[in-house]
Symmetry: C2
Subunit: 83 residues, 2 copies
């Protein structure tokens, strides 16, 4: 399993309710792809959303997002992390 950071652009003005609904849509289908979305952040002013997930491949992360109705614009494997 690999961690991934993905980025969505064009989400200007996204509300807290829309953000939560989108995240729940991911969680509802992620199991089919062996993916888990762990954290997500949004900046409504620039319209940028970041999602941190764990899964078998970037393709599996993208398929999960597609099925949830919001394709990611960029997906990066993150092999280094600190907290």
């Amino acid at each position: 399993m690999t961690k991934f950071m993905d980025v969505h652009h064009g989400m200007k003005g996204i509300t807290s309710d829309q953000f939560l609904a989108a995240h729940r849509a991911d969680l509802a289908v992620e199991g089919d792809e062996g993916v888990h979305f762990e954290q997500a952040w949004a900046d409504p002013d620039s319209g940028t959303v970041w999602c941190l997930s764990e899964g078998p491949s970037a393709e599996a992360v993208q398929r999960t997002h597609e099925r949830a109705g919001h394709t990611a614009d960029e997906i990066y494997p993150v092999s280094l992390m600190l907290s």
Copy 2:
């Protein structure tokens, strides 16, 4: 206090040791600006690094990164977050 996601490009090939050293350099000076770097992720293949912080302003986050020797290319306030 606001949460911020910042992005650094051009870090292709960053090693685990370099990543840890950069993060520790942030932690060493962040207090002067009232900033705290909470999490960080890196993709050495694309050369992208993301840092999640909390602080009084984007300028304070940037000053911390500058003093630590690695200016951020993008800084976004993240008013929405889920985990």
